[in-house]
């Protein structure tokens, strides 16, 4: 098996507090192959954004990686010095955030920012870099790119700005793009455009994508595989289609049932009782056990690790003995 592009091993992220450290991400492991789109889905506080921030080395203090390793192309990157990490960001890992204005500096034109990023990472002359920048803007669907490149971020609409951010993320041909809620701040009609551009451009540039979102619909349309996170842990990870159509983990199936869809005719939505525990009182055993319909004794004491079931992995004791065979429900 070839080395995966990105490999996260037992990642633990903690926040120190006066009552002892809070574990926001607890033992997250996954691999990402070259060219793959991995969706990371979960509700607020599930640790999905923190995982993304940890990979690009932008965890906000006092949060920090307490243990675990992150490898990019087989090279460990979680313990790099700040300046070495800065060289990796942009060149090897690009970023798209929820709010385009966190990636764009309002005081500089789009040209300034694109050309600077390109020339920091690639050996190109000013002219060549500008040509490349215009090409990138053209690719992400900015009309009249050669003219608009000299505009400032505030002169673009929300959707156009997010396109510029995608161009900026891809400017230095990174192997990996981390997109954290790239469409959440946009209107429904614009969301679809941005998702299309993101996916199409990343495919064209051969970049893998980690798409972090709370919106299962976006994942369904974009990702190859999906990791469902709950209370800082991965509950289930596997191919998107199978997880959406036939979820194994009780949390995943509850989550899928609770999403209202256009096709649905029923009056009531499936609801999971309660809410995700606060970081300060995650129950022992499986963190989902107080809300789970299929809970049994073992769930309350012992924490399940990811168990391979068919071609996916599920952190649930229901599948302990079944191994890779189907469980009767």
């Amino acid at each position: 098996m070839p080395t995966p592009l990105l490999s996260v091993r037992d990642l633990v992220i903690e926040f120190p507090t006066r009552h002892g450290p809070l574990t926001a991400v607890d033992g997250v492991s996954f691999d990402l192959a070259a060219g793959e789109v991995l969706g990371v889905v979960g509700e607020s506080g599930a640790g999905k954004s923190l995982t993304g921030s940890a990979i690009i080395g932008l965890l906000d203090p006092p949060g920090h990686i307490a243990s675990g390793e992150i490898y990019l192309k087989g090279k460990r990157i979680d313990n790099l010095r700040a300046e070495d990490m800065r060289a990796i960001r942009g060149r090897h890992i690009g970023m798209v955030f929820q709010d385009p204005l966190t990636s764009l500096n309002p005081l500089y034109t789009i040209a300034d920012q694109l050309i600077e990023t390109i020339r920091t990472h690639l050996r190109l002359s000013e002219r060549e870099a500008r040509q490349r920048a215009i090409g990138l803007l053209d690719d992400v669907g900015i009309p009249a790119a050669s003219r608009r490149i000299d505009d400032y971020p505030h002169q673009f609409s929300g959707g156009m700005r997010q396109r510029v951010v995608i161009a900026l993320a891809l400017a230095a041909e990174p192997e990996l793009v981390i997109a954290d809620e790239p469409t959440t701040a946009l209107d429904v009609s614009v969301q679809a455009q941005i998702i299309d551009v993101l996916k199409e451009q990343c495919t064209q540039h051969g970049a893998s994508v980690i798409l972090i979102t709370h919106d299962m619909g976006v994942i369904a349309e974009t990702a190859d595989r999906v990791a469902v996170m709950y209370s800082g842990r991965i509950a289930e990870i596997g191919p998107v289609r199978e997880i959406i159509q036939n979820a194994k983990h009780p949390y995943t199936s509850g989550l899928m049932g609770s999403i209202p869809t256009l096709a649905q005719e029923e009056d009531r939505l499936v609801q999971i009782p309660g809410s995700m525990p606060r970081l300060s009182d995650i129950p022992p055993g499986c963190p989902f056990n107080p809300r789970c319909e299929k809970v049994f004794d073992k769930c309350r004491v012992q924490r399940p690790s990811l168990i391979p079931v068919e071609n996916r992995q599920v952190a649930c004791w229901l599948y302990e003995d079944t191994g890779t065979s189907e469980v009767a429900t």
Partner: protein, 344 residues
């Protein structure tokens, strides 16, 4: 009961030609120096609709569609620039404070943010009791206490939660508290302004289910405002679609999803992600919402509409009866828009 029966024919809420214009001009001195005229934003433009007793009307729209402005005008938080609102046959805006208090007992609102909608310095019981006390529904403090406990129970919280402060609750629980407050004066009509858009999906399901149960139990009438069509489908009997402050289509909920008429409605439906993975390709939607200060001429949707022609650019469309409801579209009126393939 007889009063209800007599009025059964009249809709609970009648909104006619409602408009709201905001003055968004720069300060006087800037205008003088830069020689700019005053600027106005028509946030809501000639909107008319009715809500019948016991039904849920949903208003959907994207940012700038004026949906929250309409909600504010309906509950008296904002004065309309033009138009009338009749609540159970009576005008909503009255200068007699006694009449106004009587009216205020009958409608309430649930807000978008469960974090900003509860005063952080007030205990939950005080938050819930406030409408009851201020509107004079209940005066005896023991009865108020009993009613607060009952309301907490109704939204699946415990009576002991009344003595806690809002920050001790999760987003979903706070929204339950907000619902309990809205029910405190026993209203008939509740305006719900994106009540679940700040919540996670699994919690959203709980709140939507709760709101439907309460509607059945208490015979409530809802105006439900949302940008999320799948949520709206789940909640509404009838749906109005807003674009740039104007209603473009009103239709029965099921019909709207089966056979949307207005091109904008179709576009919105196309933009909803396909969770069933039926392989339906989302249609690429052209362009973005224009600046509402300078809306396009004629039909405001024409720059993004695949069916637009010269008439659409020139003339503001009027209401046309459709097979499923009403729509404001020249194309629908001239029947030159192809039947949809929206059969789901």
């Amino acid at each position: 009961m007889s009063k209800v029966a007599a009025k059964a024919a009249t809709p609970l809420l009648q909104v006619s030609d409602l408009s709201c214009v905001f003055d968004v001009s720069k300060p006087w001195l800037n205008r003088l120096i830069e020689r700019e005229p005053k600027q106005f934003l028509r946030a809501v433009d000639n909107v008319s609709f009715e809500i019948r007793k016991g039904e849920t009307l949903a208003l959907v729209g994207e940012s700038g569609s004026g949906k929250s402005t309409i909600a504010k005008m309906l509950v008296g938080l904002l004065d309309p620039s033009e138009g009338t609102i009749l609540f159970d046959g009576e005008p909503m805006i009255t200068h007699s404070s006694d009449r106004m208090t009587e009216l205020r007992k009958r409608f309430q609102m649930i807000f978008q943010s469960p974090y900003a909608s509860l005063n952080p310095r007030w205990k939950v019981a005080d938050v819930i009791a406030e409408p009851m006390i201020v509107l004079g529904v209940e005066k005896d403090s023991a009865k108020i206490q009993a009613r607060v406990d009952e309301l907490l129970d109704l939204v699946s919280l415990s009576a002991a939660d009344g003595s806690k402060f809002p920050h001790e609750f999760s987003g979903g629980q706070r929204q339950r508290i907000a619902i309990a407050r809205a029910l405190s004066s026993s209203p008939e009509f509740i305006v719900c302004d994106e009540p679940t858009s700040a919540l996670d999906v699994s919690v959203q399901a709980q709140i939507l289910n709760l709101m439907r149960d309460l509607q059945d139990q208490l015979g409530l009438t809802y105006l439900f405002i949302s940008h999320d069509l799948s949520v709206v489908r789940h909640m509404a009997n009838r749906i109005g679609v807003l674009y740039l402050g104007a209603l473009v289509e009103i239709s029965d909920s099921k019909e709207l999803f089966r056979a949307p008429q207005h091109p904008y409605t179709r576009m919105l439906l196309d933009a909803v992600p396909d969770l069933e993975m039926t392989g339906r390709k989302r249609k690429e939607v052209e362009g973005e919402i224009p600046n509402p200060i300078n809306p396009p001429s004629g039909c405001t949707f024409h720059p993004r509409c695949p069916f637009a022609n010269e008439r659409c650019r020139r003339e503001v469309p009027r209401w046309t009866r459709t097979k499923t409801g009403v729509a404001a579209c020249h194309g629908v009126e001239e029947s030159r828009i192809p039947e949809t393939e929206m059969a789901r």
